[in-house]
Symmetry: C2
Subunit: 210 residues, 2 copies
DNA sequence: TTAATTGGGTGACATATATCACACTACAAT
DNA sequence: ATTGTAGTGTGATATATGTCACCCAATTAA
């Protein structure tokens, strides 16, 4: 079960009443690694706050393509689910659990209410949107101006920052996240290996640049 | 000079005290069409609210490339300038006036203060971030999944929605906004003409599809 | 131990876009 | 009328990436 202590570690800037509200209204849910938590076009019925584990956020194409945008970690929230004035709002993003996760699901009817009641909630929402907006800007910068080799490096660095220098991803995983094909990634990784940036193993490689 | 009536038409959801605060603290500025209002990396010293005219927001590359993301119209605000807790925050976007414009410049020291004082300001900031976040998602969708011909159509439709079916842009203008070359745009527009989607003139063309 | 599956390597080729060179035309300036 | 300039059209070619075909090695399942 969830305690006020746990909450105050995850969300240190909240006022006391907000912790109580969460304990009363939020449901603590779990999901296995790999689960899809939110699909594009799906109706949003609750806000999502990460308690444990990591979530990956994607832009999704009608034809099945995906483009990875950013990670969500404990103490962070999915921006799109935070402000739903109307019911039946549809998700604009795809969210997947990377690891086994725990998250808080708060029915969206509390969103409007809490914005009124809790100043710290209000700040939390703004902070969330601001930082996600910045992530999207970085993503646009990559896709609009960089070639695949640079985007791959940027992608790997995001991974390394999250999980460390041993990158446990198959070439196919990476290709899916960057909306390209496995062959392209294989060739680019080979180049990186020649350049001495990585050491390759089956199913993984080590980032050793710098 | 700026009146409370004008303000209440532009920003209908604000509380009364906020109009007064604006009248006291904001400076009404003007800029000619084509002016650069904010460059990437530039220190943000004031928030920007559009009163008259249209602004275009870009992502900018170190090497001079630009990618158009969205328009800002009267009653809208530049999200990045709205939440600057620290001084010396650097702009992540490029903003240019498309038409002659008037805008309100509010020194950033009031941002934190007003978030505390005015609930309607708080909502305004959230609404701004939310809608800009959605624009960025659409932009990512275009660049990540679409070829240049589809992106060009999307681009033209944004223009048409803003300014009407007569598109007063040179091929070079469009190429700059989509970070490609004039030749590419020329050829694609020729195709659109063949398909009967547009009628071309010198310095402009008409969108007649559908 | 053998067979099947998954991850990866690589050549050949297709396509989209970028780049270069240059020609042409409408309009503006003189 | 002449000249200059900005906007446009278009072939030739280069490059990055996508696609197809197929192989091999490592791991797992039988």
């Amino acid at each position: 079960m969830l305690s006020k202590e746990t909450l105050s570690k995850l969300f240190p800037d909240w006022e006391d009443g907000l912790y109580d509200a969460i304990l009363n209204e939020a449901e603590l849910k779990e999901a296995k690694a790999g689960t899809t938590l939110l699909k594009m076009g799906q109706n949003i019925k609750s806000a999502m706050l990460v308690v444990e584990g990591t979530i990956k956020l994607y832009q999704e194409d009608e034809t099945g393509g995906e483009y990875f945008m950013y990670h969500l970690n404990p103490g962070e929230a999915c921006a799109v689910t935070l402000v739903c004035n109307y019911h039946h709002e549809q998700s604009q993003v795809l969210a997947k659990a990377v690891t086994d996760i725990q998250y808080l699901a708060i029915p969206i009817e509390f969103m409007e209410k809490w914005l009124n009641e809790f100043k710290s909630w209000h700040y939390f929402v703004i902070k969330t949107y601001r930082s996600r907006y910045e992530e999207l800007l970085k993503t646009i910068h990559e896709i609009a101006f960089k070639n695949m080799d640079e985007r791959l490096e940027f992608y790997i660095l995001k991974y390394v920052k999250q999980f460390g220098k041993i990158v446990n991803l198959t070439h196919q995983d990476i290709a899916n996240d960057l909306n390209t094909s496995r062959e392209v990634i294989s060739r680019l990784l080979k180049k990186m290996e020649h350049n001495g940036w990585i050491v390759m193993n089956r199913n993984s490689f080590d980032w050793i640049k710098k």
